[in-house]
Symmetry: C2
Subunit: 226 residues, 2 copies
């Protein structure tokens, strides 16, 4: 099955990483893949844009099926390989509800983390404002408090949607992993960091760990002053 | 079934509207609901925050299950009421792939539309820049071109993911509906506007049309100069 798969990806991109975790969890090791450099703009070359007019990574193909949005590709893999590897979404709609809820809340956490950690990368110098930085920091701190309260309520040793590892963890873990990497003070999110420590050595996650993070375990300290 | 449901919603919010379309499609008419005013900050009252710590709309409860993220609630409804009303996601993973892809691409269209149409609402006056407005407009125009190309490729009379109405249409239509309302020149997205005309009178959509849009069919012209 894995021989039918082609993935173009970038190191450290949460959307790429979550899809790679899903591939591992579904026992699809050995899939074809190509690591591209964002810095060299390799995601804008024809081999990508032929499959993905957005010129973004991940760009993912299974047989004749192209699914590039990372959430879409994860849901597709779970559906196509339902009984293979880890069941990431159970059949029971009641259990699904919380998994879906946390999956889509991940967009908030990701966006707010990016807004702070990559402010200078995304906002041209002449458009930067201290007031915006302050507001975005407050918004990220409030977001972290929410996730802390979720983990607090579920109790020690919980995954994001309960006692087992699910699609909520697949999509959210790569975002969570940015907080220690970018120097976020542990006091801002102690439970999230406990969760991080619990999950980071899971085989699917270790196998897909961003290669440039392995080379340079400490990233820029852009969350140090949060 | 519908008697077990409680929805808090705001008029014109795409996340609320998509969930209301899904409720109609799944034949859940008669659900309990309360229209709240964003202007009066009614979404920040205790009856909402008890169910939704984000104090956002929609806030949605079915029995004891709370699912507030609109994509999550739509997926939950489709799963819980699979054989009731319209099938919005087919069983076949190959067919699901394109539906998921377009569903999640909707986030791009929505965000880029908001960035232009509601720039002055979201960005404090002292942080506004002509250069940012220009860049955001270009980004929205490029996004519209993508959707135009999708519809072009699928042929006249197509829905967003093929020949039938699916979850892709449920989640995306409320965003598409903003373009004519906010005065976007038709030349910017002629195929999307054909799609809009084809879908706007569908019973689920008419039944959930934002009440303040019925009262005032023309919104502010914030997309006029796109």
């Amino acid at each position: 099955m894995a021989k039918n798969i082609m993935l173009f990806w970038g190191s450290g991109s949460p959307p790429c990483w979550r899809l790679m975790i899903a591939l591992e969890e579904k026992n699809l090791q050995g899939y074809n893949n190509k690591l591209l450099s964002f810095d060299k703009q390799e995601h804008k070359t024809k081999e990508v844009t032929d499959l993905n007019p957005r010129a973004q990574l991940p760009t993912f193909k299974h047989g004749n099926i192209i699914v590039n949005e990372s959430f879409a590709a994860c849901l597709y893999l779970e559906s196509e390989f339902k009984s293979q590897g880890t069941r990431l979404i159970p059949d029971n709609p009641t259990e699904q509800a919380l998994i879906y809820q946390r999956m889509f809340e991940t967009n908030n956490l990701q966006e707010k983390m990016y807004d702070v950690a990559f402010y200078e990368m995304f906002v041209p110098e002449e458009e930067r404002h201290e007031s915006a930085v302050k507001r975005k920091k407050e918004s990220l701190i409030a977001e972290l408090k929410l996730w802390e309260s979720y983990l607090e309520k579920m109790g020690k040793g919980s995954y994001l949607a309960g006692k087992i590892f699910t699609m909520a963890d697949v999509v959210c873990f790569p975002v969570v992993a940015y907080f220690p990497r970018l120097g976020c003070p542990k006091e801002r999110c102690p439970r999230l960091m406990e969760y991080y420590d619990m999950v980071k050595d899971r085989p699917s996650i270790k196998a897909s760990w961003p290669p440039h993070w392995l080379e340079n375990p400490k990233g820029p300290d852009t969350l140090k002053n949060l």
